[in-house]
Symmetry: C2
Amino acid sequence: MSATPSCPLCTRNPLVEIWSDDQLRVTDAQDPDFPGFTRVVWHAHVSEMTDLTHAEREHLMSVVWVVESVLRNELSPVKVNVAQLGNQVPHIHWHVIPRWRLDSRFPDAVWAPARERTPEQNLAWEVFQEQQLNLMADYHHALRNALEQLPGYRAAT
Amino acid sequence: MSATPSCPLCTRNPLVEIWSDDQLRVTDAQDPDFPGFTRVVWHAHVSEMTDLTHAEREHLMSVVWVVESVLRNELSPVKVNVAQLGNQVPHIHWHVIPRWRLDSRFPDAVWAPARERTPEQNLAWEVFQEQQLNLMADYHHALRNALEQLPGYRAAT
């Protein structure tokens, strides 16, 4: 399927890619409010999950579950949020988002307005955020290892 | 797995159930802002998708994709949003949400604040909403029929 010129997800950004194969890429959302926020982006410009074939959908979801699993092991979030929305960019991309009680939206969705935090809560978040950012290299390493164990994996050329 | 007393999703509400089997139920979210907003709720109190077995996860997702597919066929949304969040109620429930350009949040996520609408936009939404509500019985009927075609289906007893 050809790229759609106006679509930002039809252009790849190697700087944020953690892993890829022939069909999809796993990217670091680089969102300081949610360290470890990871995306799984289908390479082709497809809008809905039910536009994919059964085999494509299975492959994409198996990658989403590897991301969730490694994210839980490495970052110990209190909850994982997974979502495929695409109202603004109708090109399949899954959000896999680790959540913590201290984060700026908990327990609301990350798309809700940020809540008010006391100076003490802000300080606690900054300390926690720094700890989490220190885990990113290990998280990405574990994620690449786990994804390369997927059945049928062959490296993108 | 036993029910968790404080969890609202550990109690079933037959009034909103569209379909169910031994493992899960499909419910009408009855949200007037998003006619056709449908949920897929796992019966057992499980928090994360990666707490399920592979077979359980496949079954749950296959139901989510049937919901998306029938919802597209019957209600023709401009986009479908699918999400498993659970920050407030950590008991697996998928949101499958039809979106339209006229809805109160488009193109933001449904969890974002409602945007301002002109009186003309409100009127257009009310006309559209009524049309959509008139399609609900057919949507639910088509959904039940499609779900009963799933491989391995047997009716809940």
